[in-house]
């Protein structure tokens, strides 16, 4: 049991038991900081445990660290994440080949190899691929892991270091003193803190608003499908044809893509994640991507709720209205980057700055002139319903 068990509060309180929050907590605990994660449900129950598991994010300043850390994570956490290196993207049209160029350039621009593949090379590397392949890209770095197992690995590793996790605990407010957050109010009592980290996914907007610095995010539902297991391909991290996903270590094909549905701010992100009829459109593209798996059965689907900022990029920054509060939203691309995200945030807490990545593009101030109607301007709104029509009439 950890030394601080029983005390009300912690040096650092992290609101949100998803990958970003748990990774931050774990890195802080490794550095000897007394941390507590407050989660309103079960760890990883949101998008952190329901995503494609990809770990190839060449657009991000955290890419190098993402690539450096993943191969070590099982050893560092001491629990399996199912991380598998390498990534292949398959194009089934010339246009899809064209779309891969940005990734190739970004990757090479950061000193990593990216190799163009011809159709035969793709078929040699990907036994399920068919004659419809036009080309592909092979990334030596990158890869994928099992989101559900990884989330639990962070949580257990954190607890092993003495960190605390309060599940089924909802944050109701904050107590402030002298421009700082002094305590977090929850349905299980009040917990004092020296530093607050908000990493609450779709709830980040609402919670930051309670601290007078609303981080602009809006949430959407998206889904994936899963097939029965197949013999393992040599590289499981294969996607393309406008799908993301992977063959899991068990052999299942887990893939997603296609239209998302924006939610209303008042929607409960945990409750509103039904699978949709679009699962069949995902299946159509998966059968195209892997023609030799067309006979394989789809055995389930799942949906997750993901938040985005107005430009689809992360915010990792201090809140201007609370000097000891850091906010983190990865804007729909959080899982793969999580080892690096957590390390960056732990450095912000301990050293005041991140020494391995330039986080300036993650600043909250870039939204300083954001129009109050930013959601409407982007069309980031739920489809109109008959109720809406009736209300409008």
């Amino acid at each position: 049991m950890n030394a601080t068990n029983g005390t009300k509060g912690a040096s650092v309180i992290i609101v949100g038991g998803g990958v970003s929050g748990l990774s931050s907590a774990w890195w802080l605990a490794r550095a000897g900081v007394d941390v507590m994660v407050i989660e309103k449900g079960i760890v990883g129950w949101g998008a952190s445990g329901r995503n494609g598991g990809g770990a190839t994010h060449h657009q991000s300043p955290l890419f190098l660290e993402e690539q450096r850390l993943w191969p070590q994570m099982d050893e560092l956490l001491r629990y399996p994440t199912e991380f598998q290196p390498k990534r292949i993207r398959i194009a089934l049209s010339d246009q899809q080949v064209e779309e891969f160029k940005i990734g190739v350039d970004n990757t090479r621009g950061q000193g990593f190899p990216a190799e163009w593949l011809d159709p035969k090379q793709v078929r040699d590397l990907v036994p399920l691929a068919g004659n419809n392949v036009v080309g592909g890209v092979y990334y030596e770095r990158g890869g994928h892991a099992n989101p559900q197992r990884t989330v639990q690995a962070y949580a257990w590793a954190l607890q092993d270091l003495g960190g605390r996790i309060l599940q089924h605990t909802a944050v109701t407010g904050f107590q402030r003193r002298g421009g700082k957050v002094a305590a977090v109010e929850t349905n299980a009592g009040v917990f004092s803190c020296d530093t607050l980290i908000l990493a609450a996914g779709p709830q980040t907007g609402r919670l930051s608003a309670l601290l007078d610095s609303e981080v602009p995010v809006t949430a959407a539902r998206a889904e994936m499908i899963v097939t029965e297991p197949l013999p393992l391909m040599p590289i499981g991290g294969v996607d393309g044809n406008h799908l993301y996903g992977r063959q899991t270590l068990r052999g299942n094909l887990a893939y997603g893509g296609g239209p998302h549905e924006w939610l209303r701010p008042e929607d409960d992100a945990v409750a509103v994640r039904p699978s949709s009829p679009l699962a069949r459109n995902v299946a159509k593209r998966l059968a195209e991507l892997f023609p030799k798996a067309a006979h394989i059965r789809v055995i389930r689907s799942w949906a997750g709720v993901i938040e985005n900022t107005p430009d689809g990029r992360p915010v990792i920054d201090r809140l201007p209205t609370a000097a000891n509060a850091i906010v983190a939203t990865m804007s729909s691309v959080g899982f793969g980057l999580s080892p690096a995200t957590g390390r960056a945030i732990s450095q912000l807490v301990i050293d005041g700055r991140c020494d391995f990545a330039d986080l300036s593009s993650f600043r909250l101030s870039r939204f300083g002139n954001l129009s109050p109607d930013w959601r409407e301007e982007r069309g980031w709104l739920p489809p109109q319903t008959e109720d809406d029509d009736a209300r409008a009439a």
């Binding site: 079960i42 991000s60 629990y79 399996p80 990734g103 350039d105 970004n106 559900q148 639990q152 949580a155 257990w156 599940q167 089924h168 097939t227 029965e228 406008h242 993301y244 068990r250 893509g257 296609g258 239209p259 998302h260 549905e261 924006w262 209303r264 929607d267 409750a271 509103v272 699978s275 949709s276 009829p277 299946a283 159509k284 059968a287 006979h295 394989i296 059965r297 789809v298 055995i299 389930r300 799942w302 949906a303 709720v305 430009d311 689809g312 990029r313 330039d358 870039r366 939204f367 300083g368 002139n369 954001l370 129009s371 109607d373 959601r375 069309g379 980031w380 739920p382 489809p383 109109q384």
Partner: protein
């Protein structure tokens, strides 16, 4: 006026193949009675039933635990179609009454408008004939999806010949394709005795009924069977099933001095579960009711669920001994639901919804019976007894929350983790255990292990079954090949706007091209 995000569901048409006035799922007693009643009232009815099920799907133990005891005849779809049609006179009656009866068509999904699915403007059902899939909208639907088997893991239960009572009864009475000759039945409740009577009547030998409790659960039924030479063994449990490539050759019992029974089939009749998949997928309110056989959709007295226009009738709305023994009760539920549904169709309005609460009698308490069986199973199971056959998860694996076999399992930190350490962090959710152990993640979609895993979690954490959250069901609730599931009518506006991820402009631009501190507004 706001613009539309072309990458979102907004403004996308959904290809709906047909519109149904009244959809009925399941051609059992409740579904047929509902269809006949609605037809009599002049309402157009489409009645779908997944039987005859493709024999390959039967091999996966979908939708019931067939245990490979279906005869070769099940590979002949035409013949099976005739067998199903001939198994109940009311099917022909329904045809004659003008009901559009579709055999061999499964309902694998049900979607209703709600937050997250505001895109839908009406409820739709996903249907499949095994070769292709399509969507149908409907004005009202009555689900009469029946019951399914619950499994019980003892050493040898993965052998061919160990099967569920619903599967056995269905093969015997609807398919006329049950291979079994010498049968040992686990359980002594109404489902066990009614199957035993049918099996005896069909010339099969029922060797024994094995009941873990000290007294038969259906004493009258057991008395009749005993008079026909069936051994009724109470306070007993199968210690193991033995056999070879062709399956079960016998069982050993514990609690009766190691007695051996020779048989080719072990029928698990320890209980059955209401088939509620589509209700859960659609988002209907569901609760655990020990007196109704487990988790059931909340309904009013006429079968209305929490979703407007969606009704439940028959076993899927609740199972008890009386309903098992007398199919007229389910038929009456079906008829009543049809009357209510037709009333709503005619008036165009929904009656106020008053949920009926607990009913039934204490003797129907599945909480008690499932606990007793699982405790008995836990005493006979060994580390090679897989409660989840698809993913090879044993009871010790569940209790230890152990990762699957393809991962390292014996590292010190992992070994220190178990169900009780997980329970220290809060109420355990079966979906969490599923994620970590993979129990329930296989091709049978958790049908054989779902209730067993619940019972183990309940027992091990001291939580009543009723308090455990329902592990979620996911569409497609029948395993469908990619080629049969794939959308073949995708509208151009969906294809043209399809993106792998959100399609937010600039989301993948490399970070070094973004000017420091620039606002998104300035950049765009």
């Amino acid at each position: 006026m706001s613009r539309i995000d072309e990458r979102s569901t907004a403004g996308k048409p959904l290809p709906v193949g047909e519109h149904l006035r009244l959809l009925i799922v399941g051609a059992g007693p409740a579904g047929l009675a509902a269809a006949l009643e609605a037809a009599r009232r002049g309402v157009e009815v489409v009645l779908v039933d997944e039987h005859p099920v493709d024999s390959a799907l039967m091999g996966l133990d979908v939708p019931f635990h067939f245990g490979q005891r279906m005869s070769g005849a099940t590979r002949n779809k035409t013949r099976m179609m005739e067998a199903i049609a001939a198994s109940d006179d009311r099917i022909a009656e329904a045809f004659e009454a003008g009901v559009d009866v579709r055999l061999g068509v499964s309902a694998w999904g049900l979607f209703s408008p709600k937050p997250g699915l505001r895109w839908l403007n009406r409820p739709i059902v996903g249907l499949s004939d095994g070769e292709s899939s399509w969507y149908a909208s409907f004005d009202a639907a009555i689900l009469a999806t029946g019951r399914r088997d619950i499994g019980l893991a003892f050493p040898g239960w993965e052998l061919p010949g160990v099967m569920g009572v619903t599967a056995a009864q269905t093969l015997l009475q609807r398919y006329d394709a049950l291979e079994s000759q010498r049968i040992v039945i686990l359980g002594s409740g109404a489902e066990a005795t009614s199957f035993a009577e049918a099996a005896v009547a069909a010339g099969r030998t029922v060797v024994a009924m094995v009941e873990v409790a000290d007294a038969p659960r259906d004493p009258e039924g057991c008395e009749i069977l005993a008079a026909q030479g069936v051994s009724i063994l109470t306070g007993a449990m199968v210690a193991r099933a033995t056999g070879g490539a062709d399956g079960v050759e016998g069982v050993e019992l514990n609690g009766t001095e190691g007695r051996h029974l020779s048989c080719d089939t072990v029928v698990l009749a320890i209980g059955t579960a209401p088939v509620i998949e589509l209700f859960d997928v659609a988002g209907a309110e569901i609760a655990f009711m020990a007196t109704r056989g487990g988790h059931v959709p909340l309904t009013d007295t006429e079968g209305r669920t929490s979703i407007a226009g969606l009704f439940a009738a028959g076993d899927c709305a609740g199972i008890n001994g009386d309903k098992t023994a007398d199919s007229k009760i389910s038929a009456e539920e079906g008829r009543r639901a049809a009357v209510a549904a037709c009333g709503e169709l005619e008036s165009g309005s929904r009656a106020p919804w008053k949920v009926i609460s607990v009913d039934g009698t204490a003797t129907d308490d599945v909480e008690a019976s499932r606990s007793a069986w699982i405790e008995a199973a836990m005493t006979v199971a060994d580390t090679e007894t897989h409660i989840c056959q698809c993913e090879e998860v044993s009871i010790p694996d569940l209790l230890g929350v152990r990762p699957p076999r393809y991962l390292p399992r014996d590292q010190a930190p992992m070994l220190a983790r178990d169900l009780s350490s997980l329970a220290n962090d809060g109420l355990v959710h079966q979906d969490q255990i599923k994620r970590l152990t993979r129990a329930g993640m296989g091709p049978c979609q958790g049908r054989r292990c779902r209730e067993q895993v619940s019972a183990v979690l309940a027992q091990a954490t001291g939580t009543p079954l009723a308090k455990l959250p329902l592990p979620s069901y996911r569409a497609p609730v029948r395993p469908l090949p990619l080629s049969a599931f794939a959308e073949d009518l995708e509208p151009g506006v969906v294809s043209d706007n399809w993106e792998g991820w959100f399609g937010i402009s600039g989301q993948w631009d490399p970070f070094w091209t973004l000017s420091e501190g620039a606002s998104a507004e300035e950049r765009s």
